[in-house]
């Protein structure tokens, strides 16, 4: 097996927990879209083109509320603004000689979960950054999302009514995945950064909106990390 094939398969394996979370969540999205009167084709196309879970659920809420096209687009674009941060963070872990040639393709699949899983794999030393690995991770996750959407949309509006317990369990898949990924990259010196991120997410959500909470948590946590970096040499000098 070639190095590239091995890297691709590592990406596919790394996407298994994402797929396990994506299929049921996308299934729920398909069901919710169906409840709103969208056809299976329309639900599938939303997943195919937008491919951002939270934004897609918000799309349904905006459609239900009768919001205008301009307002809906602006809200959804603002919500996805956080994705600007993911590429540079990942690229920072690549070898200096590596020049991304196919980022236009795999970056399309750089969702919250793919970014988190790639970061965890890289931090644990399971893989070295490569575009083939990213393609394996992104393609598998994207396929799982599309499959879940299609099955959910075809199953129809009443698909999850027979089991509230299953509905609840599926709804907790993504929070569980985020927590597991957080545990997998957790290091003692990151705890203050995580603390700031958590605090700002809660405050932003309470006093503004969930979108503000998301942006505030990520940006303030990262800014705090940068400030600590600036202070470290002074501490060493003092010692």
């Amino acid at each position: 097996m070639t190095t590239k094939a091995r890297a691709f398969l590592t990406g596919v394996r790394g996407a298994v927990p994402i797929a396990a979370g994506y299929v049921p969540i996308a299934f729920s999205f398909g069901v919710a879209a169906s409840k709103l009167g969208l056809t299976a084709f329309e639900a599938f196309m939303l997943s195919l083109i937008i491919y951002a879970g939270a934004a897609q659920f918000l799309t349904l809420a905006l459609l239900a509320s009768g919001a205008s096209l301009g307002l809906s687009a602006l809200t959804l674009i603002t919500m996805n603004l956080r994705h600007v941060l993911y590429g540079p963070s990942l690229l920072g872990q690549a070898q200096p000689a590596q020049k991304p040639r196919f980022a236009w393709a795999w970056a399309f699949g750089l969702t919250d979960e793919v970014f988190a899983a790639a970061t965890a794999d890289l931090a644990q030393g399971k893989v070295t950054f490569s575009e083939t690995y990213m393609c394996g991770l992104a393609i598998t996750s994207y396929s799982a999302w599309l499959l879940g959407t299609l099955v959910g949309a075809l199953a129809g509006a009443t698909a999850l009514q027979f089991s509230p317990m299953l509905d609840a369990a599926l709804g907790f898949m993504l929070p569980a995945l985020f927590l597991a990924l957080l545990l997998s990259i957790l290091q003692r010196d990151q705890i203050p950064v995580i603390g700031v991120a958590v605090l700002m997410t809660v405050l932003g959500t309470m006093f503004a909106s969930s979108t503000v909470g998301l942006l505030a948590g990520m940006l303030c946590g990262a800014l705090f990390g940068a400030l600590r970096f600036a202070q470290k040499p002074r501490v060493r000098d003092a010692g």
């Binding site: 956080r82 993911y86 590429g87 317990m165 369990a169 597991a180 990259i185 705090f224």
Partner: protein, 110 residues
């Protein structure tokens, strides 16, 4: 497919792709290595994942203590199984299963 829905999907999809691809294309992370900006990008991963976790559980929190039991059980399931098996797959599935089971039990008792 309705034209308005397709237009919305295309606008949002295009912007999302731009947000994901352009910072890589311009090599922002690489240029910033070993600088304060590099530390900023390095701290994005833990703060982003923590933020996403908190943002995803906030809607599940309730004022009624009993209604928070599935959430507490789900978190305990993830932490316990991750500590035991060191696997994100098992921890994710165990957390979701625990959440669903406790939710079902409470639903059954009421």
């Amino acid at each position: 497919m309705r034209a308005e829905l397709l237009t919305l999907a295309l606008i949002v999809g295009a912007f999302t792709w731009v947000f994901r691809f352009f910072p890589i294309q311009f090599g922002l992370g690489r240029k910033a290595q070993a600088t304060r900006l590099g530390a900023f990008f390095g701290a994005i991963a833990p703060s982003a994942i923590a933020t996403l976790f908190i943002a995803s559980i906030l809607p599940l929190l309730g004022h009624d203590g009993v209604k928070n039991l599935p959430l507490l059980g789900g978190i305990a399931g993830v932490v316990g199984i991750y500590w035991w098996k060191n696997s994100t797959i098992y921890a994710t599935v165990a957390g979701a299963a625990t959440f669903g089971l406790i939710f079902g039990l409470i639903d059954f008792m009421h």
